[in-house]
């Protein structure tokens, strides 16, 4: 229910019905934070159901390629979209991602405000 009906048409992508289906053979697994407001909009039965069905944990990650990385822009709802063993696991590059993200945002703002690229 969180996916708009026309997503596949708009972005030329594949839409899967389950996490294992989507993760299988992936090079990169990118998770997004579940906004709690979505819960009250009747889109999901409960957080618990979401975590069980759609949460990513280390075991589901094993379906990805051995060298796959796990990304998430943060902040992570631990135990909801990512389990603790996924977030802190060996594939996770989340901390680097967030650090890089701060730098990229600062650079974009700098350029928009009229700064010049070095």
């Amino acid at each position: 229910t969180l996916i708009p009906p026309e997503l596949a048409e708009a972005y030329d992508c594949t839409v899967c019905k389950s996490i294992p289906e989507a993760i299988e053979g992936a090079h990169v697994v990118m998770a997004l934070r579940l906004q709690r407001e979505r819960m009250t909009a009747g889109l999901l039965p409960s957080l618990r159901e979401y975590a069980i069905e759609y949460g990513i944990n280390a075991r589901k990650l094993e379906l990805a390629r051995p060298d796959a990385i796990l990304m998430h822009p943060g902040p992570v709802n631990r135990g909801v979209e990512l389990s603790v063993d996924a977030v802190d696991g060996p594939r996770s590059v989340i901390l680097d991602q967030v650090e890089n993200g701060v730098a990229v945002r600062a650079a974009v703002l700098y350029l928009i405000l009229g700064g010049e690229a070095a």
Partner: protein, 420 residues
């Protein structure tokens, strides 16, 4: 003063057809006479109309004149002035004013304000008190005060039992109930059509089923009660099919389409122009083509302007925060003419079509003495200097419009003449 309109291409759908003729408008002892033959010696003002179209004054079934209550956006006088400049001599004022038109007193107020203008203002009264969808408004009282139609503005009557009563009750007063078919929980939070475009633009969408489910209910109720239903501003292809089907089965239903929906689609929203934030929303090209086909085969009875003035305060905002609507009285005809439809069909859907929805035998015909003389080749633009409405919220800025009204006649008198 009598008029002699010389050498124009007279278009009167259904009765006199299309022909190049002179037209004579004479005030006689027995009333106004409009004919192709001059009868009697009258001093006549001559209007040269060679190369121009001579049409019955247009009838617009849906315009929000904002008076009473929001006169900073528009009032009845300025709205009619804009209408006459667009060749529209009859406007049906929507009841979503503040206070809304839900009793005889306010119907009277609007009607009298309309009489003080140079055109004709007909009043649509509310279906429910306060447009709240809870209790029926005093329909009989509004009818006696002169209301010609019922509408709850841009609100769908959610309570099916209440809508049933409205259709039954109004039927006995020979009034049509107009519905804005939009199921609120399906449309909730949406700002534009739900589709590939809304995904790309990141805006929440209003799916076509919001219109279709509401419409299905209203058509079923209209069939069951034998009441008169009018469906306002149809936008989806499936909705057109449903109405075509219902008409085929003799349900008493009519419908209209808003002129902007004939020309724009959701693809035009990529620059987030809040002037294209409309309710109901612009849908896809396939829907637009279905609307055109619906007009061509008569499934759709009328084209309306849905003139909805919004000031800069309401429009100069992020797309999803802006209030919906665009002005449209002045551009109604040229926009309609910019579509693929043949001229006679366009004129019919702006004159005899709306007149039939109102069950009027006199509107939309030249005999009423309401005439618009149009230069079909004139190119112009809607801009600050040309817009007569109090508000400027139009998506047509910078767009060249072809077709401009030169002269508008109302009841045999010239009420608008283009300068220059």
């Amino acid at each position: 003063m009598s008029l002699h309109i010389r050498g124009g291409r007279v278009v009167e759908p259904g009765t006199r057809g299309v022909s190049v003729r002179d037209l004579f408008v004479d005030e006689t002892r027995d009333g106004l006479r409009v004919s192709f033959e001059p009868i009697g010696e009258h001093a006549r003002a001559v209007i040269e109309a060679a190369g121009k179209l001579v049409l019955p004054g247009l009838v617009d079934l849906r315009a929000h004149l904002r008076e009473p209550g929001e006169e900073y956006k528009e009032d009845i006088e300025s709205g009619v002035r804009a209408a006459l400049a667009g060749g529209v001599t009859t406007v049906v004022a929507q009841p979503d004013t503040k206070p809304c038109i839900d009793n005889g007193e306010i119907v009277n107020f609007v009607r009298r304000r309309g009489e003080a203008t140079a055109g004709r203002v007909l009043v649509a009264g509310a279906v429910t008190k306060g447009l709240k969808g809870e209790e029926l408004a005093p329909i009989g009282e509004m009818r006696r005060a002169g209301a010609v139609m019922l509408s709850d503005g841009d609100n769908w009557v959610r309570d099916a039992g209440l809508m049933r009563r409205a259709l039954e009750y109004a039927r006995d007063f020979n009034l049509t109930v107009s519905t804005h078919a939009e199921e609120a929980t399906l449309a909730r939070g949406g700002h534009m059509h739900e589709g590939a475009m809304s995904v790309r633009l990141g805006l929440r969408g209003i799916p076509s089923v919001a219109e279709e489910t509401a419409l299905a209910r209203d058509l079923a109720l209209a069939t069951y009660t034998g009441g008169r239903l009018h469906v306002a501003h149809v936008t989806s292809a499936r909705a057109v099919e449903m109405i075509r089907d219902a008409k085929g089965r003799e349900t008493d239903v009519t419908c209209d389409v808003s002129v902007h929906h004939l020309v724009f689609t959701d693809k035009d929203l990529s620059n987030f122009d809040s002037n294209l934030r409309l309710v109901p929303p612009l849908r896809t090209e396939l829907d637009r083509q279905a609307l055109i086909r619906g007009l061509a085969d008569g499934t759709i009875d009328a084209i309306v302007s849905d003139h909805a003035p919004q000031s800069v305060l309401e429009k100069d905002l992020p797309f999803h925060e802006a209030l919906p609507g665009a002005i449209g009285l002045q551009s109604l005809l040229p926009l309609a003419m910019a579509t693929e439809l043949p001229l006679e069909t366009i004129v019919a859907r702006l004159t005899t079509g709306p007149a039939a929805v109102l069950h009027s035998q006199t509107l939309g015909l030249l005999a009423a003495g309401d005439i618009a003389i149009v230069d079909p080749a004139a190119e112009w633009q809607l801009a600050r200097l040309t817009i007569l409405s109090k508000c400027m919220n139009t998506p047509l800025t910078g767009r060249v419009l072809r077709g401009r009204v030169d002269v508008t006649v109302f009841g045999g008198r010239i009420v608008y003449q283009r300068d220059g």
